[in-house]
Symmetry: C2
Subunit: 337 residues, 2 copies
């Protein structure tokens, strides 16, 4: 293991000088500098990060706590965080929780142990008050989901407003019997989307029916979406439109509808949310709300970076623009209905 002392000996200078060259701090004569570089090159020296981290009390590593990196939605955010982090010389440690809060806490202990300088949380439950304890001591940023009432910086889209747009659109198509497939998880986005659904119906004088609200599982799985859709569509007074809170669920709904002999969008309008890759991989292309996942990730890192550097003006609430995209899975209610 080549260390700084070896380089110093080789270059005939002191370790301090080598360090100065390494960090471009303090003044060093150009020729000395050159000698040091030569020595570094010759011995192919690479500074030991553990030693540097110990001394500097930082790791240049950030932690990303995600429930499931297999989900393309999270994967895209991850990619954004990772790319932005790399640009600033940071590496990303990924901690997959599988939605388990206990594992989420274990992940956060990485901060205590100084394995990472800060964390980006991708999917905290809206009532995870225990987070405040960590937030007081370490730089933390919420991305996409967040805990209400905690003073932790967050980046997300406006889920409520996006839902209003979708719902207004569905209603403008003439639909009155509008169902929703929500989820059993406790994310703020789930809550806001459900609220947006209910509020729009009420504003239009349409009664919110309990039997028009179905739940998919916490991970928005295709299977559970399909099952929820079956439940909704098998009722005697079946809905003509389903507002799904994720694309995978929408996909499940479309599949369920097809298997029941219903055509989408002719017999049933289905909308999704997030706009993951496969919304346009087959017909009908899904009408959905596109989230700027990659940018959510990038912005989250930028804010975390600011927090870690103790910059003063830290943005506490960043809302990135979404995009409502009308495609093929939605259509005016058919006249024969």
């Amino acid at each position: 293991m080549v260390k700084i002392a070896d380089v110093a000996r080789e270059a005939n200078v002191s370790v301090a000088t080598v360090s100065r060259v390494l960090n471009k701090k303090g003044s060093v004569r150009p020729e000395t500098c050159e000698r040091v570089y030569k020595a570094i090159e010759k011995l192919s020296f690479e500074p030991n990060m553990s030693a540097r981290n110990l001394r500097r009390n930082e790791t240049r590593v950030i932690l990303i706590v995600a429930p499931n990196i297999t989900n393309p939605y999270y994967a895209h955010i991850l990619a954004g965080v990772g790319d932005e982090a790399r640009k600033s010389g940071y590496s990303a440690l990924i901690y997959n929780t599988g939605g388990d809060e206990e594992r989420e806490k274990n992940g956060m202990d990485m901060l205590k142990k100084r394995r990472a300088d800060g964390a980006i949380l991708l999917a905290s439950n809206l009532d995870s008050m225990w987070l405040s304890e960590y937030a007081d001591k370490y730089p933390i940023v919420h991305c996409s989901e967040y805990v209400k009432g905690l003073d932790i910086p967050r980046v997300s889209i406006d889920n409520y407003k996006a839902t209003l747009e979708v719902m207004e659109y569905i209603i403008s198509l003439g639909h009155k019997k509008i169902a929703t497939i929500s989820s059993s998880n406790s994310y703020i986005s789930t809550l806001l989307r459900l609220k947006g659904y209910k509020d729009t119906l009420e504003r239009h004088g349409i009664k919110v029916r309990k039997d028009y609200i179905a739940l998919a599982d916490a991970e928005y799985s295709f299977k559970s979406g399909k099952a929820a859709a079956f439940k909704l569509l098998q009722q005697k007074d079946r809905p003509t439109a389903i507002f799904c809170i994720s694309d995978t669920i929408a996909l499940g709904a479309i599949t369920a509808a097809k298997e029941m002999g219903l055509r989408v969008p002719e017999d049933l309008t289905v909308t999704g949310f997030d706009d993951v890759d496969y919304t346009t991989m087959f017909h009908p292309y899904i009408t959905t709300v596109a989230q700027p996942c990659y940018d959510l990730g990038r912005k989250s890192f930028k804010i975390l970076h600011a927090c870690m550097n103790k910059t003063n003006d830290i943005e506490k609430k960043v809302v990135l623009p979404h995009k409502f995209i009308i495609r093929e899975s939605s259509a005016p209610i058919s006249i024969c209905d």
Copy 2:
């Protein structure tokens, strides 16, 4: 920052004893042990990893070098590596290369800098001989792709054999005009799948036609798969079956076929590869080769772990079983043809 000395003072013992308790090494009287635990609890002490890493000359971090974590195939492997690593007390640093070899090298420098103890490479080009330089010095494992001729442990399926199975099946359906959509990348799997395609045709006395071999882009994008399929299908003497080297490409091919008014599988048989999530999210469900992604990841970590511990009997070539799954996108050649 609470350190080991503070705990020692609080518990009225020396730092050595605290360390012994922490690492369960050496003998400590139970009651002393208890006192130390109490002190740790009281001060809520967490060992500083940088210091520990420096002393132990290890990081308990592994590096995963992936071309694109957004691709569900890689994401599943990642999940497997991550879960298995966590079980052994390791964390996973993810380095996204975007397929850029330069970035792959930068990633590997994490090893030199002691930021990670070992690395799992998910997508090395088959001719990346420069890797041997690293492999000599650091624990490295190849997962899914590998470099021919290098003595680096690897985990993968038998791409050649799997391809033979698919091809034999397609031929058994009566197809003679069989095309393939390969990729412009330089992965060993791409090579083997193409070779499997050609070899099977030849064994059956079917000439390999250049105009039946199309190329998708390096990332197997849906778009490029669709474009390649268009090219194949617009020929006067169009193929009746397409062997695609990835599911995304198969999806593109199916979409292209549909847009041209061809039915799958009645007019065209399409097969995929990998069995990612969305192969059964819509009809026709894709006939494909299922790879045990999660287990490929887990096994890769296990081997890396063995390497890092300098265990003697390290498995150099692990081949995990694949599964050929016949679904809806393939069918006997129609009689009217």
